[in-house]
């Protein structure tokens, strides 16, 4: 139900993200999705990629501030109103979303998100029969 996301601390300066991406490229790690917000001084560069554990290790060895975070990955139908339908389920359960981003993979919409209460979120996903994606399945879609 959850997949591993790399979260990398990057300063707001030119080349900061590029440096990270080059390190991943050399080791043949493929990116599926990336996300960063436009904050003032620093950002958290969030990355979904193949072999997250390997990527984590190599970034850490390069002295980069990085963490692995478990995030939820839900498959959505590629149709109007689908994301709203899913968010409404969480809203009705009073679960607020910490952050969310999405991408398309082989015609499937994938929603990545975190909430303040992972256990409750897990329950809601199961009870509402949301189509979650396991780590193994995600990479088999590539």
């Amino acid at each position: 139900m959850t997949i591993q996301q790399l979260s990398v601390f990057v300063e707001n300066k030119s080349g900061a993200m590029l440096n990270i991406l080059n390190l991943l490229k050399v080791e043949g790690i493929q990116l599926l999705a990336v996300n960063i917000a436009d904050t003032v001084e620093y950002g958290i560069f969030r990355i979904i990629c193949s072999e997250p554990s390997k990527a984590y290790k190599l970034l850490q060895e390069a002295g980069i501030s990085v963490t692995l975070t478990d995030v939820f990955a839900i498959e959505l139908d590629d149709k109007v109103g689908e994301l709203a339908r899913v968010l409404e389920i969480f809203h009705n359960e009073s679960i607020s979303i910490t952050y969310l981003y999405s991408f398309l993979l082989n015609g499937k919409g994938i929603m990545i998100f975190r909430t303040a209460d992972s256990d409750r979120t897990r329950e809601i996903v199961i009870l509402n029969k949301l189509k979650f994606i396991a780590e193994r399945d995600l990479y088999s879609l590539v």
């Binding site: 601390f9 900061a16 958290i44 501030s65």
Partner: protein
């Protein structure tokens, strides 16, 4: 000669020979008195020195230096030369993790301190008809009570406004007809900014004519700018808590160097490495011996301030030596907004955060007209991917630093490895202020 321009003509107008004769008399008395101090007694005994060995001013050199470390090692009362019951006040440096320093004062010390400050204020033309507002912090910060008692001694109406609340300061200036203000230079500039915002023209709407500025390094250019902005004459003040506080040295109306009161202090300028005297007029570390203090005299105290004695005579008629503007420090102490800060204080706080690496960088800069400190810290391993928790960490670091150093720094998280490494001689402080 018109003696009315001197508050203490008998002291202010002494010739060099008279100054030196008085200094020798007071030095001998001070050294004898210091034998009541456990610290100095032990130190003199250890090198076989006795007060009788001080026969001339030149013999001062036989006495070992006193350092800030000595003050810390003897914290809180170990250097005092009188029993504690004779003391009526103490001032202590900031710091909760660093070693503070304490200076003890008897009633006589406070009286003489007030006299010195009154002399300074009188020298720049202030009289009992003036209204003197003090925007220093009161309490342990000596710029508060030091100027308060000095201004009262001179007989001025005093407005102990204390630090902060600029709108209230402005109301006092207008309502009470303040003619003289003591402020740190960056605050004087801040005051002007708010005046402009409020549509107040300092020349038209206030009676301000004299500003006393000090406790923060500033350039001649900065002084002229303050004078232009506020339509005042601004005079440089020098003091330090170890020497009571303000009133050690002060500019006269010539605004060319700060007369150091040699009936209170013996001045030496030494090379901070060799500790030998530098040739006349060259920059070195200021070393001061108090010769008019009872509670806690300090012999050959290394101030760590770098300055020089200005050569030549001052047209004002005073023969007390003139110190040049302070040109920096021979240690790593930072002076920001009138507060003395050592990088080690900051380091000790940062080390308590396991989220951070051991590297940090302190940057001092003048933003608009205000001096500001930025502390960059490296996030060692990212412990969260939550912006809110990183913000919380930043706030907590800021709060703890503020509690320690009394000014609020801007704390900036930076990526691991982006600051100079701690091995070798890392640059910890970057001072970009245009002061020296």
């Amino acid at each position: 000669m018109d003696k009315s321009q001197y508050l203490h003509p008998d002291k202010e107008l002494m010739s060099r020979a008279e100054i030196e004769a008085l200094q020798l008399e007071r030095l001998q008395k001070t050294v004898r008195h210091c034998m009541n101090s456990p610290f100095y007694k032990k130190r003199f005994d250890s090198i076989g020195l006795t007060p009788d060995d001080i026969k001339s001013l030149d013999d001062l050199k036989k006495i070992p230096f006193t350092t800030k470390q000595d003050l810390r090692d003897t914290y809180p009362f170990g250097i005092a030369s009188v029993p504690l019951e004779k003391c009526v006040r103490l001032h202590s440096s900031s710091g909760t993790t660093g070693n503070p320093t304490v200076i003890l004062h008897t009633q006589r010390d406070l009286d003489e301190w007030a006299n010195a400050v009154a002399r300074c204020l009188h020298m720049v033309g202030l009289r009992p008809t003036d209204v003197f507002q003090n925007s220093s912090g009161y309490g342990m910060f000596t710029g508060g009570l030091g100027f308060q008692y000095g201004a009262e001694r001179l007989g001025m109406l005093t407005v102990p406004a204390a630090a902060g609340n600029t709108l209230r300061q402005l109301k006092f200036i207008k309502d009470f007809g303040t003619t003289a203000l003591h402020a740190i230079p960056s605050y004087a500039a801040r005051l002007y900014e708010v005046m402009v915002e409020q549509g107040i023209d300092p020349r038209r709407d206030t009676k301000l004519k004299t500003l006393v500025i000090g406790a923060e390094p500033h350039s001649e250019e900065q002084r002229r700018r303050i004078e232009d902005m506020l339509g005042v004459k601004a005079y440089n003040s020098f003091g330090m808590s170890e020497m009571c506080g303000p009133g050690v040295a002060f500019e006269c109306k010539e605004q060319n160097g700060l007369h150091i009161w040699e009936d209170y202090y013996i001045v030496e300028i030494v090379n901070p490495d060799t500790l030998e005297p530098v040739p006349e007029g060259e920059v070195g570390e200021l070393v001061l011996t108090t010769i008019n203090r009872e509670g806690m005299p300090l012999l050959r105290y290394r101030t760590r301030d770098l300055t020089r004695i200005l050569p030549g005579e001052c047209p004002c008629g005073r023969h007390h030596k003139r110190l040049d503007r302070m040109q920096g420090r021979s240690d790593d102490m930072i002076i920001l907004k009138g507060v003395n800060i050592f990088p080690i204080q900051i380091e000790k706080i940062l080390l308590q955060f396991k989220e951070l690496s051991t590297d940090y960088l302190i940057t001092l800069e003048t933003l608009e007209h205000n001096d500001a400190m930025t502390v960059e810290v490296e996030i060692s391993s990212l412990f969260t991917d939550d912006y809110a928790r990183l913000e919380k960490l930043t706030k907590e670091i800021t709060r703890q630093l503020k509690d320690e150093i009394l000014v609020t720094p801007k704390v900036k998280l930076v990526a691991n490895g982006s600051l100079p490494k701690s091995e070798g001689k890392a640059v910890r402080v970057k001072d970009l202020r245009k002061t020296y």
